[in-house]
């Protein structure tokens, strides 16, 4: 997972390497007032500016306040391959947005290095911006301009000539089926449409890596599905994508590899399938008893063949079990045999959510 940064520098023309993103020992410590809200601001200065004291990031604050600052991202090593659809998961304050902020030149790392498409983002931020694009959950479209002009001027900022920028804007508007919206001002667009325009705009300068920070937050299920289709199609055409999301299903559906992050550290990094396998179970049986268990039922169920782990919580037992013939009847038998009254029994196939919760815990994050 770790990559020697010096080796990367040697093929830094960006076209020969196979890595889309390489983070080595990437660290961000916020000193003074930490940013207000990270979600939509790339971990950058919050809406009210950096100087205003505010609530620290929930998770990050726990991670390292003692050291005299907020250690939002702590010695992160990560490599994303070209063409990969990569997911970054974690609760609020885990350091996801700060990581994206550093990779997209908006947050300056305290330590370590980050290479995006062969460019050192810390040493050459402006050049790095030619190779990357970022889409946030908030609508940051230029409200003084029409949909078409949002795309057109974006191309102009990236050095495209008038006719080339116009041509690409037209082709993206067609590709994203925005033809009938091309002339309208962007503040009349619905959330889903605005998000499509933002992605189209991000693609106009053909970035090597596309960063999506919770792009489907706040969208209705239909729009979200539609956007998934768009993103999948994009990735199929070779686009490297780094996505952060709160929706486990989204990461499971779209990403080839997923990193789960908390308190500024990587907790796990693997394919969705392998991560799900990590729960140590093929399925989870939840047993609900009439009265809280004193440990007798837990012991009886744990002893069953095929049961890997049992978590006890008040009246509930969560049984992590492999495939075993007749498991459910045996569980029922064990429960009644231990003298307890069974209220309910449910079986859940393993989900990414189970992995996520197992790794990051269940405490509430603001």
């Amino acid at each position: 997972m770790t990559t020697n940064a010096i080796e990367v520098q040697s093929n830094a023309d960006g076209e020969t390497g196979t890595a889309g993103i390489i983070c080595s020992n990437l660290t961000k410590v916020y000193t003074g007032a930490p940013p207000m809200s990270v979600g939509s601001r790339w971990g950058g200065a919050g809406a009210g500016g950096g100087g205003r004291p505010g609530a620290p990031l929930a998770g990050a604050a726990q991670a390292g306040n003692a050291a005299g600052g907020v250690r939002a991202v702590d010695a992160l090593n990560l490599t994303v391959q070209r063409g990969e659809f990569f997911g970054l998961l974690g609760p609020n304050g885990a350091g996801k947005s700060t990581t994206i902020g550093m990779l997209t030149t908006r947050v300056i790392p305290t330590d370590g290095s980050a290479i995006v498409a062969g460019i050192d983002v810390v040493a050459h931020p402006a050049l790095a911006r030619t190779r990357l694009a970022a889409v946030t959950q908030t609508n940051t479209l230029d409200r003084s301009l029409s949909v078409f002009d949002n795309l057109y001027y974006h191309g102009r900022y990236f050095g495209l000539g008038r006719s080339e920028s116009r041509r690409r804007a037209r082709s993206l508007i067609e590709r994203f089926r925005l033809e009938d919206k091309a002339g309208v001002l962007v503040d009349t667009l619905s959330g889903g449409l605005a998000q499509r325009v933002q992605i189209a705009r991000a693609l106009l300068h053909e970035p090597a890596v596309l960063f999506l920070d919770e792009p489907t937050a706040g969208l209705d299920p239909q729009t979200r599905l539609q956007l998934w289709g768009t993103l999948r199609e994009l990735n199929r055409s070779g686009q490297t994508v780094l996505l952060t999301t709160h929706y486990m299903e989204e990461a499971d559906q779209l990403c080839e590899r997923i990193a789960i992050m908390d308190h500024g550290h990587l907790l796990a990094l693997d394919t969705p399938e392998a991560l799900k396998g990590r729960v140590g179970a093929e399925r989870i049986v939840t047993v609900t008893l009439a009265r809280p268990d004193d440990g007798t039922v837990e012991r009886a169920v744990s002893a069953l063949d095929g049961v890997n782990d049992v978590q006890r919580e008040d009246r509930h037992l969560r049984v992590f079990a492999g495939v075993a013939a007749g498991l459910l009847p045996r569980v029922v038998q064990a429960v009644t045999g231990a003298g307890a009254e069974l209220k309910d029994l449910s079986v859940m196939e393993p989900t990414l959510e189970a992995v996520y919760l197992k790794l990051t815990g269940k405490e509430y994050r603001e």
Binding site: A12, E15, Y30, P35, S40, R41, G43, G44, A45, A47, G48, G49, G50, G51, R52, G101, T104, T105, R106, V107, I108, I119, D120, A123, H124, P125, A126, L127, R129, T130, A133, A134, T136, T138, T140, L141, D142, R143, S144, L145, D149, N150, Y153, H154, R156, Y157, F158, G159, L160, E164, R201, H205, E206, A208
Partner: protein, 284 residues
């Protein structure tokens, strides 16, 4: 990658650097965007710009002399007062334009709408994005400042005596004044929180205008020596006096050395602080 062939200017880098030409191209696109937005709403812009100087000149330099209200003092006629007033109104317009054309949009773009994001992610150093905001604000200021001349001329019933004998001073003062106004706008726009917007007018625009030698030449303040010295901290004073040197030199004005020197100094200071504030807002 395909883009390498399609956008040679930006991507043909022999080293890991963006060429100066590519950066200038990006910068000019940033300014073009602002000007396109300006011209889309040019009527509103012209109306906003013209109203204040037009009404001011009309009431004080046309109505007052005709209804016997004493303004301008020392028995000066309406025409003479109008000549003192016009450069002052131009100066206050240049400053006001910096606030309305740069500061207010910035406050909005940093907070509610975050529209600035796309421009901040343009492939130039963030300081260039801030500078482009000042340049387009200054271009807007030049339009606004020049618009004041015919407006005041008409509003005063053509009473104003304009002396176009110093074109160099006129042009340089309008441009420098517009830059100072826009740089002030950048500084204010990056320093002010959205909820403080209403305060800008009370604690900044009003004192800068009323104590900016807009309605009276600086020399006439000699009767109030402390005030005459206190107002020297106000950049609008130098804009007013410099424009007076260009358009109505007969009434006397501050030394041009002081005017140019202090305006350039103010510009440098405000740009430095404004760019620093801008960077703080977008990079952490």
């Amino acid at each position: 990658m395909m883009i390498l062939e399609q956008a040679p200017l930006l991507f043909h880098q022999s080293t890991q650097r963006l060429s100066v030409r590519a950066q200038i191209q990006t910068a000019s696109a940033l300014v073009q965007r602002d000007l396109a937005v300006l011209f889309q709403g040019f009527f509103g812009f012209a109306l906003r710009t013209a109203m204040q100087p037009a009404l001011f000149a009309f009431v004080f330099a046309y109505v007052f002399p005709r209804i016997g209200q004493g303004i301008g003092g020392n028995g000066r006629g309406g025409g003479q007062f109008a000549s003192v007033l016009m450069p002052g109104l131009m100066a206050s317009t240049l400053m006001f334009q910096g606030i309305t054309g740069v500061a207010l949009p910035l406050v909005q773009e940093f907070s509610f709408s975050r529209e600035i994001e796309d421009r901040v992610m343009a492939p130039v150093p963030v300081a260039v994005v801030a500078l482009c905001k000042v340049i387009s604000g200054a271009i807007q200021g030049v339009f606004a400042g020049l618009l004041v001349i015919p407006i005041v001329w008409i509003a005063t019933g053509r009473a104003v005596q304009i002396d176009f004998g110093h074109p160099f001073i006129l042009v340089s003062m309008v441009v420098l004044g517009a830059l100072v106004g826009a740089a002030l706008g950048l500084l204010v726009g990056t320093a002010v929180e959205p909820r403080q917007i209403n305060l800008i007018f009370a604690i900044l625009v009003l004192p800068l205008t009323l104590l900016g030698c807009v309605y009276y030449p600086w020399s006439t303040l000699h009767a109030l020596r402390w005030l005459q010295i206190a107002v020297l901290f106000n950049p609008v004073v130098y804009m007013s006096e410099g424009l007076r040197a260009a358009l109505a030199p007969q009434g006397g004005y501050l030394s041009l050395w002081a005017v140019y020197g202090l305006l350039l100094g103010a510009l440098t200071l405000m740009l430095t602080l404004g760019i620093r504030g801008f960077r703080k807002r977008v990079i952490s």
